[in-house]
């Protein structure tokens, strides 16, 4: 009976309007490269100071979930993830758009985001306290092994040439070393330049590595940006629903991985979507199709990143530790509104929390009409615009986006240098995606390793730290399976055939 009351409180016209406004604003901001979800939520935070706490939360939650989906537009249409959570969406989303299926990819992204968002929100409702305890069991060692597991994805992102993918991944790891080290405090590879002391920032690097090569190629070849002739118009909702029904396993896997990784405070939506993408590829019967415009690639990435919204709120509410960077801002909003986090939040402040969760569910559902409609216009605009306008427009946004993330001109320089570099290495067949992965996971692996060694030295055994913890061992087992299972299977099937 109480639940009906919470649902009614969430569905007041004012809260519905806030959810709609939040999702719409989120989709627009998220679609702009460089405007991350964190940035979008932070910019809109002061507008919520005068609201009731629950309305403020619904609005910010709607912005967060909307921006996580909105980032898929630029990922699919111009190969530039709008937010870091959409990196994995570019791998198959952009090839789909190239061959004339951009509208289908956007509709699939919308459906997957709604499913993932709902799963994350339901997890927040049903199993928040026990999941938060799991988050605490993850120490530096577990994060180290998790990052190593992530790095094994280089193999799946290497497009057939493991050596070249490995080179790219190592370049990314090397770039992640630039700047002040968290664990040792040493400044590395900064060459006395203040611009490099802070390291290579992820967002400008990703924009450069993924988008600039596309822009250069657009200028270099006479063909239109996205193929139009022979492609089907409209939303292609029926077709998308059919694909979703067939790939329900992918959606489930993506949503669960997203929720689980969202709960871990040191990993966010970007890692969740990459892990979901790679796991989906591994489980697929045709892994070679991934990277060439496989709809399941988009489904896995987009369901996982929206599931991190609900998943990330679990440690935020239960522990007071933000699950993702955007959750740090939402945690701030709670503090400003005088709401104390903790396990008691779910009992003492039950009306607030459950009304908010209903609000988040409503906002996620609203993403379906809002997202489909806005996606149609985004696709229509990008497809019909002439290349002479598109190239300068996108180039403008790459610069604005790289600058906006930290208000720093140096980031624009980093973006341009890495962009040209990414184009050059693509000439010799070295893919840029593993480099992004190295840059993203390098710091997590390095910090976990350094902290693990300090703790291991203090407690007497470094080996026992790295190889003596149950969760760590489980992750190591996964790493071994991921690395060697394909070879073992291939040999086995070959023997069967012979």
């Amino acid at each position: 009976m109480e639940l009906v009351g919470y649902a009614a409180a969430a569905a007041t016209p004012y809260n519905l309007l806030l959810a709609l406004a939040g999702v719409t604003a989120g989709v627009v901001l998220g679609a702009l490269p460089g405007i991350s979800s964190t940035f979008a939520v932070a910019v809109l935070l002061p507008t919520t100071f005068t609201m009731e706490p629950v309305s403020a939360l619904i609005f910010l939650g709607a912005v967060y979930t909307g921006s996580t989906y909105g980032g898929a537009y630029s990922a699919i249409l111009v190969n530039t993830p709008g937010t870091p959570q959409n990196i994995a969406t570019t791998f198959d989303g952009y090839p789909m758009a190239r061959r004339g299926d951009g509208n289908l990819a956007i509709t699939l992204a919308c459906l997957a985001s709604v499913v993932g968002g709902l799963v994350g929100a339901v997890a927040l409702w049903a199993v928040a306290p026990p999941l938060a305890r799991v988050a605490l069991a993850f120490g530096p060692i577990e994060y180290f092994w998790l990052a190593v597991l992530g790095l094994t994805m280089i193999a799946s992102l290497s497009e057939g040439n493991l050596l070249k993918g490995g080179i790219s991944g190592c370049l990314g790891l090397a770039l992640s070393l630039v700047g002040v080290s968290v664990v040792s405090g040493d400044t590395r590879f900064a060459f006395d330049s203040p611009a490099l002391v802070g390291g290579i920032n992820l967002v400008p690097a990703v924009i450069g590595l993924l988008c600039i090569p596309v822009l250069i190629d657009l200028v270099a070849v006479p063909q239109p940006h996205l193929k139009r002739e022979g492609s089907v118009g409209g939303y292609r909702l029926r077709e998308a629903l059919r694909i979703c029904r067939k790939s329900w396993g992918t959606l489930t896997r993506g949503s669960l991985i997203g929720t689980g990784i969202g709960v871990l405070p040191a990993a966010g939506g970007s890692i969740a979507s990459l892990v979901a993408y790679s796991e989906t590829r591994r489980a697929s019967s045709r892994p070679e199709a991934f990277g060439t415009g496989e709809p399941e690639g988009v489904l896995s990435s987009e369901s996982a990143n929206n599931a991190t919204v609900g998943g990330g709120l679990i440690p935020t509410f239960v522990l007071g530790i933000p699950g993702t960077p955007a959750d740090a801002v939402i945690l701030g909003a709670l503090l400003i509104h005088g709401v104390r986090t903790g396990p008691s939040l779910f009992t003492e402040r039950a009306p607030l929390i459950y009304t908010f969760i209903f609000g988040l569910l409503i906002a996620t559902l609203l993403m379906l009409p809002v997202g489909l409609l806005m996606g149609r216009y985004a696709y229509g605009a990008i497809v019909s615009i002439s290349k002479t306008f598109l190239v300068p427009l996108v180039a403008f946004f790459t610069i604005i986006g790289s600058y906006a993330i930290h208000n720093d001109v140096n980031d624009v320089v980093v973006m341009l240098v890495l962009g040209v570099f990414g184009w050059l290495i693509a000439r010799v067949g070295i893919p840029a995606a593993p480099m992004v992965l190295g840059l993203l996971l390098g710091p997590i692996a390095e910090q976990g390793f350094g902290q693990g060694v300090i703790i291991g030295t203090a407690t007497g055994s470094v080996w026992a730290q790295f190889f003596g913890r149950p969760i760590a061992l489980a992750i190591i087992a996964l790493i071994v399976v991921t690395l060697f299972a394909p070879y073992v299977l291939r040999r086995y099937t070959r023997r069967l055939a012979a």
Binding site: L136, V197, P265, L319, G320, P325, G338, S344
Partner: protein, 317 residues
């Protein structure tokens, strides 16, 4: 139509000039660069200040996040920004005193930073997981003495306030602990709550909000704090350690003398806002105002206090 628009623009400009002459600084929005990402304690404080700034001056306070290298990215760029009084930057002590010594090269020197107002103080606390066997500072010190180097202690980064507190406390108590640096306050706190480390130096604000899962043993302020009256200070327990973070407003070196005073006075007026102060004290922050030019002596005093600790941390690395 066109000329009318132009006239209107001219009229507005002259009106702005008039009111500007009457009110002085500020005449337009002021940029406040926050050297950390959105959502952290410093960023939150600045965002709570936004409405107070608007109501005190009639203009917006625009927050620009410029995170990187524990603040060093922003601080090393401060003096290349425009000294027109409309670019201001959040600065934290002892961070700007420790970093140039500990993280060489950090891109700036302490003396490069022109502080015009110290506006807040956040004490540090020594905390353990809720399930820890350490009930008091005495228990912890006894354990640390029994097995030197075995007690792990989390904190944020190398050369930050937490690291300074660890160095100060180790010296005062005559113990040796293993400092484990984390990338931000949240991840260090998560490691503490999960008992990945034995203990941590963190901020009073964190100790208060996370009290379901962690236990504060002592606070490193001069006097007990109102929000946790039963929490002893390290001083009264016999360890001469006071530590914390002082927030300050800094301007580029090229900012002229009269503007430095105006920036200082304006922000000092803003933080008098009752709602701002209420929110801040709820979080555990102490609002204070040490204005320009008197603030220079305060900075000098802190520099002479913290520089030896910085050298000590550097030598141990």
């Amino acid at each position: 139509m066109k000329s009318r628009g132009w006239l209107l623009a001219a009229a507005t400009t002259s009106f702005a000039a008039l009111s500007g002459a009457a009110l002085g600084y500020p005449e337009k929005p002021v940029v406040f660069v926050v050297p950390y990402g959105p959502g952290g304690p410093s960023d939150l404080g600045a965002r709570v200040m936004q409405p107070a700034f608007k109501s005190a001056t009639g203009h917006e306070l625009v927050i620009q996040n410029k995170p990187g290298a524990g603040g060093a990215t922003a601080w090393s760029q401060l003096n290349s920004m425009s000294g027109d009084g409309y670019t201001t930057m959040l600065t934290a002590m002892p961070h700007i005193i420790l970093q140039p010594v500990v993280n060489q090269p950090s891109g700036y020197e302490t003396e490069d930073i022109t502080i015009v107002l110290v506006y807040g103080y956040l004490p540090e606390v020594l905390a353990v997981p809720k399930a820890s066997k350490f009930q008091t500072v005495k228990d912890l010190v006894a354990a640390a003495k029994a097995s030197p180097g075995r007690i792990t202690i989390a904190g944020t980064g190398v050369g930050g306030g937490n690291h300074a507190a660890q160095a100060l406390f180790d010296k005062a108590a005559g113990v040796r602990t293993a400092y484990v640096p984390f990338k931000d306050t949240a991840s260090g706190n998560a490691a503490l709550m999960g008992s990945q480390v034995d203990t941590a130096w963190t901020w009073l604000s964190q100790g208060l909000t996370l009290k379901d899962n962690i236990r504060m043993l002592a606070v490193a302020s001069e006097e007990r704090v109102a929000l946790a009256p039963s929490l002893p200070t390290l001083k009264e327990l016999g360890y001469n350690v006071t530590s914390g973070a002082w927030w300050a407003v800094a301007v580029p070196k090229s900012t002229p003398e009269n503007l430095r005073r105006q920036v200082s006075q304006t922000f000092a007026k803003v933080i008098q806002d009752r709602q701002y102060q209420a929110k801040m004290s709820e979080f555990g922050y102490v609002t204070m105002a040490i204005t320009y030019p008197a603030v220079s002596d305060f900075v000098k005093q802190k520099t002479s206090e913290y520089r030896p600790i910085a050298r000590q941390i550097k030598a141990k690395k």
